[in-house]
Assembly symmetry: C2
């Protein structure tokens, strides 16, 4: 019952759902990439995840990290797994060939990340931010900084961190106090205390590159006064930089990941991007990180589904209704209606999320490499819209599906004898970090829907309606209806927001969930169309058809609740008082 | 930010919502009990829970239990807390005065249990089954067994266990293999392996009374061949009985509770009730336990609400929409719309559950002590209907509200620095044990709604419609409408079940949630009526009015989703196959 990479479904999404063999040739950077190569890469990544990472998942959780005289010891096997990761060339997967990268599409990077997080979330925390940091440096770093530090990120010789949070500043970056003072030699002295820094110190890579938000002495207050500094663990002269790990968090989950309190004491750093322009530079990294966090939700959902399925196919309890007494005294529990419902929801939601997450990554590929500037801009807009939905909705699903899977195990699920309780614990963080899910909802509705006059949503709805038009039967009707509802709800929110500016903040969470459901309808409508390419008798086609039916029968009706919930938020919300 | 017993709301429910000063005098057994006495009892229980149990909650979780040469060492402070519990007379609270009990109403026992579970779930596991075992022995034990063992349960000198589960038999008791063979002296030799036995061995009480389901040699197969045996840890002659603790489970939560694997090796036991009549006897205990588990959900919800509120009233992040920049750079987070929504949901759901749980306990009081047999029977029917709803819906809320509260803490909520991650872990078990929530749903719909021709539901709807008729304004309309929907849905399920016997099994979970929402509407409609007794300017009245509005505005709309979900379950559910 070990975790297995869902290669068959990954290939299905690439081949039939995204049709990469038609789209990659249109992007010059990927002209040499085809489905066969992609499948080979995924198979290699699957081997690494199944054989190297998955076996360290439970032991890494139990052992956790240790802080010894300022040095962090990660769980047994973690450093060796990282060496294997580097030797496999995985950090370079989607990096520029001119920098030593393999130049493969981001959609493959997304599939890789899904496997890393699905097989061992704790370990994958060390590498999870690397591609974001690569993009950040590549877009905002000076030529000198790029030349010095990008090759190490691409090769995996160095691992980056994202140093934002301080004790008083979590969601609110405007409250950051860390300072950066010019040293007069082009470098800066960075001073401050950073909290919850994943991989802030560890024994996986020799060097660690901290990307730190801090303020110059002349900086304006608030988030517009933040600058981004690169602070390496080791200075050029081979001396340790003044960055100290003062403590590790004891956490509900991802215990194999070292979550550090870092102290910078006039540590030497270099400016990335413009003075006071730290937020813009950091958001390149953050957007990549948010998509990766959504992939964590997918990874947990898939892991939960596999565990629940395998257990339900072995465990016998009670007779199913309307069946003759089972020969062995009881039926396998996967036959019971309540268990079938839970299992189908696990499978269908996981597969739907996979299609959508890879779709978002595919738009990022188009945004980076399409010939036409307008096509690039539109793709970037779509990816920006999809990112908060994927981050928030998928992580919520990752946690809630882990809980559903745990329920399939009954009392055994509550014990450490099975991995599902760890999946539940690990999955919970993804709803919080890289911007809480509430912040994602505000980002989506306030900034990206109401903030841009509606062009982004129109673009997205255009994509969905194109699919509805190409579909037939129930899929066409259901997707068309879902698009109508989304469009009406958002128009109504926009018009009501004029008279009640707080309303969209009250409705944002439900709006995001509504978008997620409509996107799932899109995913399954397109699946309904593309399974026609599969042999009529193929098991995969039959299973996909069952998933499509289950989605439209059992899951899509949730849409009306979300529509009603957005409407309900028109009512005022009272304030909470101190206990009296 | 320590846990506080919600005394004010408890008193509100007793005084205004249940109007115990009118109902207790009608029950001869409680003729001497009035509100003043009840409040005194609750205040004492609050002191015990706040001062003795709550301080051991985190340390008990961290320390856990140890098994040393067959003896279980509970966490530091647990045995002393139990001695204080016994000295306080708490085990006797709702027991018969003729047996040394205090003869107080079960509704006070429910409030006590809420406090015990809310302040320290792990510790409260040791005492949680005691009242059920008392009722079981009292109704099914022989006079000799009662004389010998009831006083010890009432005084707290002994603690009982419920020994049902075996490795191959969790939800399915028909698969139990433990055996009981007559010894010829009136006692039985009990042999078998029991799993997940809470408090199966510990150092709180000297003696432990195991209530064990086992089979006689001539027993029929299945659950009708089960007999209930009382197996004490110590035999009359002062020798240890042949019951051995072979291991403790390592669990996601309730780590202060010793969850034991027990081995019975021809241990001496005594029959409780009839041969092969074990299920009937055990269900007296189980029904009590199920209500207690529902109270765990309530206890966790209340604890989660308190933690989230206290944190949100202290932590500052970002500016609330439409407000001037806060003087201190950021606003308190309880002012943000998304946080207000979460906090209000925590408070409103907790308070609604409290009213309903105490209502169920109140029906049990009436079932036990009303003069008229018909009134007793009707009260018992109502309590039986309410029990699975309370067990399943409240425990699901306990867990999901703990997760909502954790979200309010942001990254801090994921660390062990705050108690909320423990609340999340502890709360999860309640959805599983004493019959999984899926089994509760089947119990409600298949046995108690469809199984009895509809009389029980008619009785319940009668109570709800009486309240709607007494209400006015929005509460009357909303509750009336909710009753109509429930009635229509259940009638439809009944008629569809004739042609599709599996349908109710597919719909059972949503039917239960639907019932829970209608009951919440009832709780808040009655609250709307009874706050008229409060002074117009009272803070409590204003807060309750806000809760009523929030419930009808934000939470009741969920009802339509549940109606739609029951309808959706008319679609067939495919079967899961092995991975191919």
């Amino acid at each position: 019952m070990a975790w297995k990479a869902p290669l068959r479904d990954m290939q299905f999404v690439l081949q039939h759902w995204l049709r990469v063999d038609q789209s990659w040739p249109q992007l010059a950077a990927y002209a040499d990439v085809d489905l066969d190569l992609a499948v080979q890469v995924l198979e290699e990544a699957a081997r690494f995840s199944e054989q190297v990472l998955a076996p360290l998942n439970a032991s890494g959780d139990r052992q956790g990290c240790r802080l010894e005289q300022g040095e962090v010891r990660t769980p047994d096997g973690f450093p060796a797994a990282y060496r294997a990761f580097v030797e496999g060339g995985w950090p370079a997967l989607a990096c520029d060939p001119s920098l030593g990268g393999q130049g493969l599409p981001l959609v493959l990077e997304a599939a890789l990340q899904e496997m890393l997080f699905g097989s061992n979330h704790g370990w994958a925390m060390y590498t999870g931010i690397a591609h974001g940091a690569y993009l950040c440096l590549k877009s905002h770093g000076s030529a000198a900084l790029q030349a010095r530090y990008l090759p190490g990120i691409v090769s995996g010789q160095t691992l980056p961190t994202m140093c934002l949070t301080e004790p008083q500043a979590g969601s609110d970056l405007s409250l950051l106090r860390s300072r950066a003072e010019p040293r007069g030699d082009g470098s800066y002295a960075v001073t401050g205390n950073k909290l919850f820094i994943s991989g802030g110190e560890h024994d996986l890579s020799h060097d660690i590159l901290h990307l730190v938000l801090a303020r110059f002495p002349d900086a304006p207050a608030g988030s517009r006064g933040l600058s981004l500094l690169l602070v390496p663990k080791w200075q050029g002269n081979g001396e340790r930089n003044a960055v100290y790990c003062d403590g590790l968090e004891h956490k509900l989950g991802i215990r194999g990941s070292a979550t550090c309190a870092l102290r910078f004491e006039a540590a030497r750093g270099w400016l990335v991007g413009q003075p006071h322009g730290g937020l813009a530079a950091m958001f390149v990294m953050m957007n990549s990180a948010r998509l990766h966090v959504g992939l964590q939700g997918l990874g947990h959902a898939e892991a939960a589904w596999q565990q629940a399925r395998d257990y339900a196919l072995e465990r016998r309890q009670m007779n199913t209704p309307g069946q003759a007494k089972a020969a062995q005294g009881a039926d396998l529990i996967h036959l019971h209606p309540a268990m079938r419902r839970a299992l189908l929801e696990l499978r269908v939601r996981s597969e739907g999320m996979r299609a959508l997450a890879y779709w978002a990554a595919h738009w990022l590929d188009i945004a980076a490499f399409a010939d036409e500037p307008e096509q690039r801009a539109q793709a970037a807009t779509l990816a920006a819209l999809l990112t908060p939905v994927i981050k928030a909705a998928f992580t919520e699903q990752g946690f809630s599906l882990a809980s559903k899977a745990l329920q399939v195990f009954g009392g055994y699920g509550y014990t450490q004898e099975f991995a599902i309780e760890q999946t539940l614990r690990d999955s919970r963080i993804a709803m919080i970090y890289e911007g809480t899910n509430e912040i994602q909802a505000n980002d989506l509705l306030l900034r990206k829907v109401l903030g841009d006059g509606g062009e982004g949503v129109a673009l997205l709805l255009g994509e969905l309606r194109t699919e509805a038009a190409a579909s037939s039967g129930r899929a066409a009707t259901e997707l068309g209806g879902a698009c109508d509802k989304l469009q009406a709800v958002l128009a109504n929110v926009r018009s009501m927001a004029a008279g009640d500016p707080e309303y969209p903040y009250r409705a944002a969470g439900d709006c995001l969930q509504l978008c997620a459901t409509v996107l799932q309808a899109f995913a399954w409508a397109r699946t309904a169309r593309c399974i026609e390419a599969l042999p009529a008798l193929a098991a995969q086609r039959r299973e996909k058809q069952e998933s499509i039916d289950f989605f439209f029968d059992y899951l899509l009706p949730d849409l009306d609740r979300q529509v009603a919930a957005v409407a309900a938020a028109a009512a005022p919300l009272p304030f909470i008082a101190e206990a009296f």
